[in-house]
């Protein structure tokens, strides 16, 4: 094949010929495995006088034969229905996608194809001005009359492995793909994208995420957006996601919802989580009770350091916060606290009650957020326990939740974005 690389817009509308005799025009491209990193084109749809016909790749002799697409035999079969496969032109061109590495919602102006290893593959989405000009038919115009301007038009190609369609055009492919491309984004980046989308598009993105990632992303959203999303994704899925959220965030979210919806969601969850959340929802949002999470690590006083470390190893993967270990008795009363550091440095056979700090700073559930933050700041803590009148452990407020509660909203927005990148950014632009 003489064809090395080119754009869908350049191929669409080309004459299709068999033995140099025109039989129709190229209308679309069929992809059977869109979940591949760089999916192969499996055939062309040719618009003939008899209607759209499907030409499998094997029957395509040359994509660029004197400006026409040469076929070895005339296509006979009708194109497969849209529901079974992905069509580049009708399903993707002009549609919105998320550039998961550039963290942007953009639109596909053109699609780049390349001939690699004998196969025509989809390699990139053109989302830039040059793609627009090409579609407008201004490319040759630009080249001829204004070469200087045309050279300076930014080309922005997004490598196909970073292109995540907002709406999965074919829902059955969601299950096939091992990992949604959205999962590569940091939850705070996902949250940022979601705020740029309409309610239904946001729900479509959430639909492609696993419960845990969805929960992480949801935690980064404001109450209003959380609520619209929860209303859009259905009670069952919503309950699964809320179960995965930090209990304080989950409780805040539930508190925003109407009573009957709250009850329905709690009924869908497992009993233990639901019970915890029912307690947490009662507290006002700007008090220690409202800020606290029930996800803390507790240990027993009579165990040895070694036994405790083994225990921590067992439960730590489930736990968000393990830097402070709270020592409680059988009635859940707080006896003391032990830092992870102190535990690691202690002799293996030392009992916890001998190495723990028993003089613990605690808060009541109704302590205002400002005082919670002040306490954490004064004692240089990472978290502070919340107890009831009998010194029974109710939860902890972590330093990040305390900061969030007292920081002015517009200041939080102005802070630089600190985001961890799991993947190095591939080169997505050239020219």
């Amino acid at each position: 094949m003489a064809f090395h690389e080119g754009f869908v817009s350049e191929l669409v509308g080309r004459r299709a010929t068999v033995n140099d005799l025109p039989i129709g025009k190229v209308a679309d491209f069929l992809v059977n495995k869109p979940e591949d990193t760089f999916p192969a084109v499996d055939g062309l749809v040719i618009k003939t006088a008899q209607g759209p016909r499907f030409a499998p790749m094997e029957t395509i002799a040359d994509v660029d034969h004197d400006g026409a697409v040469a076929l070895t035999s005339a296509p006979k079969v009708a194109a497969p229905p849209d529901s079974d496969s992905l069509y580049l032109v009708s399903d993707l061109l002009d549609k919105q996608i998320v550039d998961v590495d550039g963290r942007k919602v953009v639109r596909i102006n053109d699609i780049e194809l390349a001939n690699t290893g004998g196969k025509l593959r989809v390699v990139a989405a053109d989302v830039g001005v040059s793609g627009l000009l090409r579609r407008l038919g201004l490319k040759s115009f630009g080249k001829r009359f204004t070469p200087w301007i045309y050279k300076n038009v930014p080309r922005s190609l997004i490598a196909w492995n970073s292109v995540a369609p907002i709406r999965e055009t074919n829902p059955s492919h969601v299950q096939l793909s091992q990992e949604s491309k959205f999962a590569r984004m940091h939850p705070s980046e996902l949250a940022e994208i979601i705020t740029d989308l309409s309610a239904r598009e946001a729900a479509a993105v959430i639909h492609q995420l696993d419960d845990e990632t969805a929960a992480d992303a949801l935690e980064h959203l404001d109450a209003e957006t959380q609520r619209t999303i929860i209303e859009d994704i259905g009670t069952e899925r919503a309950a699964d996601i809320i179960e995965e959220m930090d209990s304080d965030d989950a409780a805040d979210l539930l508190a925003e919802l109407p009573e009957d919806q709250q009850t329905q969601l709690l009924a869908e969850m497992n009993e233990y989580t639901a019970g915890e959340l029912r307690e947490l929802v009662k507290y006002s949002e700007d008090t220690a009770g409202g800020l606290m999470t029930t996800d803390y690590t507790w240990i027993y006083p009579h165990r040895t350091a070694e036994q405790t470390i083994r225990k921590i190893r067992e439960i730590a993967p489930e736990s968000e916060f393990i830097y402070y270990l709270y020592v409680v008795d059988k009635q859940d009363r707080l006896l003391g606290v032990l830092t992870l550091r102190a535990l690691l440095l202690a002799p293996p056979d030392a009992t916890i009650e001998h190495i723990m700090e028993s003089d613990v700073v605690t808060l009541a559930t109704d302590t205002p957020a400002r005082d919670v933050a002040a306490t954490i700041a004064r004692y240089d803590l990472l978290a502070v326990p919340v107890v009831d009148a009998d010194f029974k452990m109710l939860g902890i407020v972590t330093v990040d939740d305390a900061i969030d509660a007292i920081m002015p909203e517009n200041l939080a927005r102005e802070l630089p974005r600190i985001t961890a990148r799991k993947h190095p950014r591939p080169s997505t632009s050239s020219g």
Binding site: L93, D94, K95, Q96, K104, V105, V106, R107, I108, N109, V127, L132, R135, L136, G137, S188, A191, E192, I194, T195, D196, S198, A199, R200, E201, H220, L221, D222, E224, T225, T228, E231, D232, D404, E409, A412, R413
Partner: protein, 420 residues
Amino acid sequence: MRKRSFWRSLLLLLSVLGPGFVTASAGNDVGGIATYSAAGAQFGYRVLWTLVPLAVSLIVVQEMATRMGAVTGKGLASLVRENFGVRTSFFAMFALFVINTGITATEFVGIATASQMFGISRYIVIPIAVVAVFFFILRFNNKVVERTFVVFSLIYLTYIVSAVLAHPDWHAVVMGTVVPDLHFNNIEYLVVVVGLIGTTISPYMQFFLQSAVVEKGTDEQDLWMARTDVVTGSILAIALAGFMIIANAATIYVANAHGAHLAPKEAADFAAALQPLAGEGAAVIFALGILNAGLFTATVLPLSTSYVVCEALGFEAAVDRKFSEAPVFFTLFGVGLIAGAAMVLIPGLPFLKFTIYAQVVQGMLLPFELILMLIIINKRSVMGTYTNSVLANAIGWATVVIIGGLSLFYGIHLILGGFR
């Protein structure tokens, strides 16, 4: 924690207030006040009948936008792009950007007129207004916008009261409303009619309305409620327009008929319509009203136009991004706002004429937008079972034909008669 952007918050606010407010804010901006006032002052009660078919068209068009938003979950700009490709969207967006920049200019005309009524030069006030608009967007606050809306609505209430206090000839009002009065040979009458259409069914309004519906997450189940909102909102907007025409007809037109020469040359002259209510204070109320309307729309229009264009052409759009992250968005916004403001600084610009002709251009562009909407809304692949009914299609296409015909007629008249 991620907050909603300015655009999202604004759309949500609009959707909560209801389409009626979207209509009122779009139709009754500076251009609306000027056109309705000019219609009443120049032609009296006999233009009132145009509001009846306008109300029907307005309801049908807005219902279509609402239904498209609810069924597809996408904005109108997205649908145009996805159904017509790059070329059509590009020209549609180009036209929208140009006319909206013109409309932005008319909002600054309102601000300039108000400042001149208070005796301050527009060369001082317009730059200050531009800075104020930037500040307003950076420090967006739902409460402030809500209050602006309330103050904004008050001026229309003053028109209702003033219209009643002016003791209009109610018999003439009723006759003017029910008896169509056509004058194809009167080009000024034609200008006012096309202007009335353009300002009442502004092309940009459909984009905002549909985006607001999508933002709210309205779906097929909520459609009945949204439709009720559309009907009440449209009727409210039309009724307010009617009272504005009556107030002007009962004062300026009637006085002229009795030999006075109040031929309004500038928008400021329309303040006379508020005299039955406010007497000497009419000028102050009128000035505050158009200042408020102008500032508010000048803030919203360039920004939302920029969002719509970027939505269609696929550029990143968000106020809280850096310039380098969304260069097209910020450029369009900056150019739209500053070019709009700069036009008003042209010495000797005929303010009133400019404002009304901007509405005429909107009216002439409306058929093109409606054709796109009608094609999309009749596609089963897009709308499923929610395609247009025969009645909606009939009214929709009739609107296209009538407005198109009027525009064509006007265009031919211009060519034959020369530009006046």
